[in-house]
Symmetry: C2
Subunit: 277 residues, 2 copies
């Protein structure tokens, strides 16, 4: 999927919502635990309930890996289900991978060859050769961690470079632009650091940003939109717990749908305000 | 496994060799491709051939994930085989994970709960709450990326902090020491940067270091040992391709054994020279 296609989906659905499929077996409604694959059953219902309000899904790999190889089977079924039924939806593997070049090649094969994700999140610490292998697949995307939503972001990401004065996350943004383009590279910027979005937009005016941290983590959608929207929207805002665990009972899918619709309506107003729809 | 036990294994085997089980289906000897699980068949023979010369095994997750969920099954079988037959061997998941706290918790559950690894490699970019969840399992270890062996290490790891003058990898070493101890925290330091090992030893005199990059990547074992050994050895030096692909034919296990023995003998001499055995 290219940038223009993603923008058109955003305009069509009047939404830039990404639903985080962080499916924790310990939080799945009890009645689903009797099915042969509770994680997939849960995901399938969540997807069917929220697809009309979402332009992206983002399973975080940790939730699947914590169940061993059978968790990976649930993930593969989820990916196949989305690709078959909602091929227009942008599918992100939130994996935060990154290794030496020949090994990152294999991670790229895992997410873009073996599975059919559109994008994978990548950690920048190991530099260029750890990131570029993910960019060799046409139509596929790297989403590089820049400024994350967690408290630990303050440990290293704000360190100022003695030579340039740039903070580490700014250096990541600047240097990585030489590795890809706005057609294969996005950045993670946490909603909890929304006040930084204006400065970040000055460095990467045209790239899409994946913004986690709205909702349970405390970020504000309004602030994210006001500081982060660009001429092609340029934002995918993720919500996980606020949507998929809106209810822990048999009505979980219905409640997830209501929660997704609510976010979509807020996003529609923000897109209209910005003249993007 | 604690530090003393690891040191005792090193003394017993007169080796600080870690064999990287980076098993690439495309490099497995053809005759194994007819078995029901070629990756596990290959690993099993490699392990049986090299266990007497190795104190650690390190499967890199990318090689298994690139085969989808069936690759994870091969990995689970490999882990179970090592734990059952060679329980004294230190088992490292080279996964380079790291996510927000509640998600790192799940990765920790994946590697230490669902599987039975002794250690997992973790990327530091997201800071304290991304690292600490891995330290809550008694006897289990975090191996934090400090200075990696690849070319991309120069992109960010050498950035100097305007306030302290420390390079980023030095800041990682210094700050992370507050998160754990030499009983649950090791560091990755690439052999290709062996000249830095003396400075690194000044910062972390007592921690174990996992050193990749000897062999195919060009690092020198002599230089690593001379700059990195401490009073409890303090080094695990990894070799992958040089051992597991010493031959691509039916004699692959025998040749791997010879290659492992050769490294072990070199290590024995270095341990003797340092008065550690």
């Amino acid at each position: 999927m290219n940038q223009q296609q993603l923008f058109e989906e955003i305009q069509k659905k009047r939404s830039f919502l990404c639903v985080g499929l962080d499916t924790d077996i310990q939080k799945i409604p009890p009645h689903l635990l009797e099915t042969s694959d509770p994680v997939f059953s849960f995901n399938k219902e969540i997807i069917d309930a929220t697809a009309e309000f979402s332009v992206a899904y983002k399973p975080n790999l940790a939730f699947y890996e914590s169940l061993g190889s059978k968790g990976l089977v649930s993930l593969e079924k989820t990916v196949a289900y989305i690709k078959e039924n909602y091929p227009e939806i942008f599918l992100i593997a939130d994996a935060k991978r990154g290794d030496i070049g020949n090994t990152s090649n294999l991670y790229a094969r895992a997410f873009f060859g073996e599975q059919d994700f559109d994008a994978v999140t990548v950690a920048p610490y190991m530099g260029e050769d750890s990131v570029k292998p993910f960019m060799t697949y046409p139509g596929k995307w790297v989403i590089l961690l820049a400024l994350t939503s967690n408290k630990g972001a303050f440990d290293f990401q704000f360190i100022e470079d003695r030579e340039t004065g740039d903070k580490l996350f700014e250096t990541v943004l600047k240097k990585s632009q030489q590795w890809g383009s706005e057609e294969n590279l996005m950045y993670v910027v946490g909603a909890t650091k929304a006040e930084k979005l204006k400065e970040i937009r000055a460095i990467v005016p045209n790239h899409f940003l994946l913004v986690p941290g709205v909702g349970a983590q405390g970020g504000s959608l309004q602030e994210v939109a006001h500081n982060g929207l660009n001429s092609k929207c340029g934002l995918l805002v993720n919500s996980s717990r606020g949507i998929i665990y809106a209810s822990g009972e048999v009505d979980f899918a219905e409640k997830a749908k209501e929660a997704a619709r609510e976010v979509q309506q807020e996003m529609e107003a923000l897109l209209q305000e910005a003249g993007l729809i």
